[in-house]
Structure formats: C-alpha cells, structure tokens
C-alpha cells in the first residue's frame, strides 16, 4: 500500500470536518493519519471511550464519522468492540452478513493507560482482530487537565499542581507500549503525528495483521500543555527528537526502531516551550526534576536501542 501523499489525499475522509475538537488539537490529526492507513474495500466500526474525541464528534443528532461508530462507557471501549467483533465473526460464519469489517478504537491516555487498561489487556489476551489507537496527550484533557499514568514527571496538571511542597507530578509515566508488547500480540507501535508517513505505514501494518494491534500516538494538547495552538506538530516532533517519545514498532516480537535519532536534543528544548513545565524553569525551579527527566529519557532510550538491536551512542 502506498504512503505517497498524492495517493493518500485521494482517500475519502472518514472523519469529516466541522467537528468540535479545538483548533490545533493533536487528536483528530492522529485519527486522520491512522484512517489513511485503513484498507480499501473494507468497512469500519469505530469505538471511542468517553473523552474529547467522543463528545466532540458525535453531538446528537450529528456525527462526524463516515463509518459506523459506538460509544459505550469510559473504561470499556476495547471490551465493547470485542463484543461487536465476536458478533461479526458469528454472523459472518452463519452467512447472515456479507461485508468485511475492521474494528478500531481511538481512546485517550486516560481511557487507555488508566481506567480502560483491564478491558484493553483482556482484548489483547483474547486475540480479537482490532486496531487499538491511543491518542496520547498525557493527561485527562476532557475533564480539564488532570494527571494520568501517561503524564511526565514534573508536569503541572490540576491534580498534580506545583506548590510549596510540590514540583508537579511526582512519578514517571507508565511505559504502556512495552506493557502492551508484553502481551505478545502481532503488532505494537509507538508513533507521532509529526511523522505522518511513519504513522500511516504503521496503521497499514496494524490493519493487516490477523489479531490485535496497538498504536500509541503522541498527540499534544495545547490547552493542557500550555503552548500556542499552532505549535502542536512542532511539539510532537521535539518529543521524538529529544527521545522523550521514540518511534518504534514490535512486529511479532521483533523490536525495530523506525526513526533513528542523530544528535539527540536535550529534553529542556522540548519542555521549555510548555507552560506545564514552566515552574521547573523559574529561578526557584526544581533543577533536580529536570535532571531526573533527562536521566529517565536517557535510560529508556538506551534500553530501547538494546531491544531494537541498535548500537548505543
């Protein structure tokens, strides 16, 4: 399948414009890039857990989705869609339906890393044929910027505020992509909206495997991260260039670095553009936290290089 721009723009848009997501939001960019990788000739059923994407794209009596769509609850998009997928297989086997379908979840990090984690893990273990996409903006943005287990150490959120006794979120984030990979499913990837061709190609692979696939997509939120809305893609790119968000895939257990990073930039270049880390850069800011973040990123990057069989720098 082609990842050439001239071919991709010919594909019908499955998420129409006119939805109510914020200007400059990374979420719909992730959705459109993934859907550009959907196979032709197959129908889609898309599920969303509760979140910005869901409330902004299906305001009754309208829908932005040119596909079938279901929202059930917050923590159960994967389980809900697994029931639809199993029913599809049953109806198909009984000869009650003819069309071919793919099943896709687009969930935020709250609905994926935290409250929806058990439901996701169950689906991965049971091997449903489903593409699960986490559009990751590192906090609960729909409820107004609360920390999740995807939030970076030191980040301000409304439930991890900085103050006399706090320098923002006290813990590192959870490595969900690796945890998903540990389920030994056919395809797992980490991607970023800044590297669209890489993401489209990963989506194509995810749709093609016979089993569950998972893509964790960096999709910055300017409201929650506190930066000018036009810088969303730039921030996503810096996350890759600083190795805060490395791009890789795990295909049938084989780890593969999909974007090599030469001259890794210091994390501060990424962080200083964001108001959520502003308190760390003040005169009285906690330098130790900045050092810890750099240390963490370096450590995780080295580990990833080893997993991918790449030479360490």
């Amino acid at each position: 399948m082609s990842t050439k721009l001239k071919d991709l723009v010919q594909k019908p848009e499955l998420l129409s414009g006119g939805h109510r997501m914020c200007a400059g939001c990374g979420g719909p960019i992730a959705v459109r890039q993934v859907l550009m990788g959907a196979p032709e000739g197959k129908k889609l059923v898309i599920a969303n857990p509760t979140g910005c994407l869901e409330v902004s794209t299906t305001i009754y009596p309208y829908t932005s989705w040119n596909t079938s769509f279901i929202h059930c609850g917050f923590e159960n998009a994967a389980a809900t869609l697994s029931g639809a997928e199993a029913t599809y297989n049953s109806l198909k086997m009984q000869g009650k339906i003819e069309d071919d379908y793919n099943f896709v979840v687009f969930g935020g990090d709250g609905g994926t890393y935290d409250i929806g984690f058990q439901s996701l893990s169950g689906v991965l273990e049971r091997g449903h044929r489903m593409v699960y996409v986490c559009y990751n903006n590192e906090a609960y943005m729909n409820t107004g910027i609360q920390r999740s287990s995807a939030t970076t150490l030191g980040a301000w959120t409304t439930t991890s505020p900085h103050g006399k006794e706090s320098s923002g979120k006290p813990q590192h984030r959870k490595d969900l992509t690796a945890i998903v990979a540990a389920h030994n499913i056919p395809y797992v990837a980490q991607a970023s909206i800044s590297h669209w061709r890489d993401l489209v190609r990963k989506a194509q692979k995810a749709f093609s495997v016979d089993g569950p696939a998972f893509i964790n997509v960096m999709a910055p939120c300017h409201r929650g991260w506190r930066y000018p809305m036009e810088k969303t893609v730039e921030l996503a790119k810096l996350a890759v260039q600083t190795c805060v968000w490395p791009l890789y895939e795990v295909e049938n257990g084989q780890w593969n670095l999909t974007t090599k990073v030469r001259n890794k930039k210091p994390v501060e270049e990424y962080m200083k553009l964001q108001g959520r880390f502003g308190h760390l850069f003040r005169k009285d800011g906690d330098r130790e936290v900045l050092d810890k973040i750099q240390e963490f990123v370096d450590h995780e990057w080295k580990k990833l290089l080893r997993m991918c069989g790449e030479e360490e720098e």
Binding site: I59, A84, A86, T87, S90, D99, S119
Partner: protein
Amino acid sequence: MVIAKSNTLALQGTEAVALAMKQINPDMVAAYPITPQTEIVQGFSQFVADGEVDTHLVNVESEHSAMSACIGGASAGGRVMTATSSQGLALMWELLYIASGLRLPMVMPNVNRTLSAPINIHCDHSDSMGARDAGWIHLFSENAQEAYDNTLQAVRISEHPQVRLPVMVLLDGFIISHSLDRMESLEDSTVKEFVDVFKPEFSLLDAKTPTCIGAFDGLYGYFFEFKRQQEEAMRNAFQVVKDVGKEYGELTGRPYGVFEAFGLEDAEFAIIVLGSAAGTVRHEVECMRSRGIPIGMIKLRLFRPFPANELIEAVSHLKAVAVFDRSDTFAGGMGGPVFTDLRSALYESEKKPLMVNYIYGLGGRDLPVELINKAATELEQVAQSGQVKEKINYLGLKE
C-alpha cells in the same frame, strides 16, 4: 390446543438455564464466572466446545467487560446473552443503564446472591433489587422449570418492537441454581420456532446505513425525551409479558402472567412473595386453608415493570397483606422494595388492606414453614384486630 412435545428431565437450575441458552442459540455470549452463577456459563461453554451452537463465546476478564461486550454485540445486530450474580451484577451497574438506554434487547439470567459485606455467597435479592431502577425488565422464577421458561420468554419480550429493553431472569442462588428439580424441556426445534430470528432495528454492521450508537446528548439535546420513551417501553412491556406468557402457555401447557394468585377470591388476608420461597409459602397457605383459615397468596413474577394495577385489583378486597421481601432498602424503616412499591401503589385506593412487611432470608438464612406460620398467624391477628403492631418485621433473626 396441541401441547408441544417435551422431555422430562432432572436438572439443576443452572443446567436448566444453560439448556435454554443452548436452545436459543445466541450469536454471542460473554462469559465470566461467579458463584452461584458459574455453572450456567460452564454448561454453555461445553455446548460451544461440542459445536452444538453457532454462538461465539467471549471469555471476558470481568462482568464489566461481559456487559460491555453484550452492548457491543447487540449494537452489531446480534442476539447476545450473559449471566451473572451478586458482585458481578453490581460491577455491571453503569452498563445496565447503557444497555437499556440504548434500547438494546438482550437476556441475562441473574442467579440471586446477596452483596458484600460481610462476604456471603448465598441467596437474597439485594443484587437485582439494587438494579431495579436500571431500566431492565425483571422476571422472577420459583424453580428450575420457571427459570427455563422465563429465559425462553425473555427473548421474545426483550426483542418485541414495542419494548426493545433488556431482561433479567432471576433465580434464587443455590435454592434453585444448585437443587436438582424435575422439569419439562421443549424440543430444540420448538424453541427455535418460538424465539424466531432476531431482527435488529439498527446495526453497526449495516453496510448501507453506517450507524452511530451512543451519541453524545447534552443540555440542548433530547436526553429527557429518550428517557420518557424508555418509560413508555416499560409500560408497553406489561401487555407483551402477558401475551408472550399466554402464547407460551398454549405451546407448553404452562401459561404465565405478571403474577400467580392462589386462594385470593375467598381470602381475608394474603402473603406476597417472590422467587423460590413461594413454594414453601404455598405449602403453608394450603395447610392453613385446609384448617379453614381464610389466607391466600400472590407469587410475583414481574417485578419491573411493577404491575401495580393488577395487584391493586387483586388485593384491595383483603383486610391485611404481608409482603415478604428478601432484601432491605436501608431507608430507616420503610421496609423492603416490594413492600414500598405495593404500599405506594395502593395510596389512592379507597379500599385497601393493612400492610405489614416481613424481611427474611438475607444472606441465605433459611425460611422454614414454622416462620411462615408465625408471620401468617400475626397477619391473621392484624386482619382480625384491624391494628398493625409492627409494620416492618425481620423474620428468622437470631435473638
């Protein structure tokens, strides 16, 4: 009237329900174990393993995911089922409202078991009574036969175009679920014809009409109108339950209504009861009647929607009624859920009986004949004296 061919079997309640599920042959079943329901999904899993059904079995990792999968499956146009008990039903709580709010037909046997704490695996009705306002139809069963019959009828009630609401079939934990009972089962082909083919109103898998299910509906939307329609569907359910029960009666010789009355016409006082205790109560009522005591009884089958009009008509001539509740509402002296509903229903009636409530059997505490006799004797005194000494009574407490 030609009664369909049947087979006499000795089955446990769980086996009877699993057999009904096999004969319904749903498109998808989501299974998760919990005592005392486990043997239903266990039995059904064997039918799947032996290739006796077309069902795709999804072995979910929780009851929350079981109900989620059922919602997904019903949205995809499938006939879906799951089964649960107690904490499992409680874990499904938010999804029960989503299933009914989305107007998705489905049938779920719930083997009644109490809720923790203290942890206890035995029967009372606090699990399903906790879900009484979730927009599901509740059908209670007295024995394995009724659990089987209700499961089959529930499919027709749930999928009826004027209803389209999920149905729970309730059977008492252990007392019904784990007791061997003599019962009649129908031929597979008879059930197939009775439940017919599911015709979904909408489906995610309708290629010509992509469907959006579970859209967001805010302050300026139609939320209130949806909820009013849901209540309308509940009101429609009364007639559908009766029609399906009559048709099933013609097929099997076992007709079903919204409740079953015994000896009410010439009774002066009566007991109202749900579930397996109805058998013991009936025995005691028969004994007392044979001694010339004017007692009758009602076994309530349909709890949601609540058949208020029929109940008013049935009990208004009585001097006194005792409602037996196998759960409490913890409302500080209001009594159990059936008591509060019936009392409320009778408020406008000019003629109405005095009412007493007996809460019994919590956490599986036994209800022997002696206790029923004690309550019935007290009820007789209420009827004779016209005085209620104690409105809310706890039957069988260790003192």
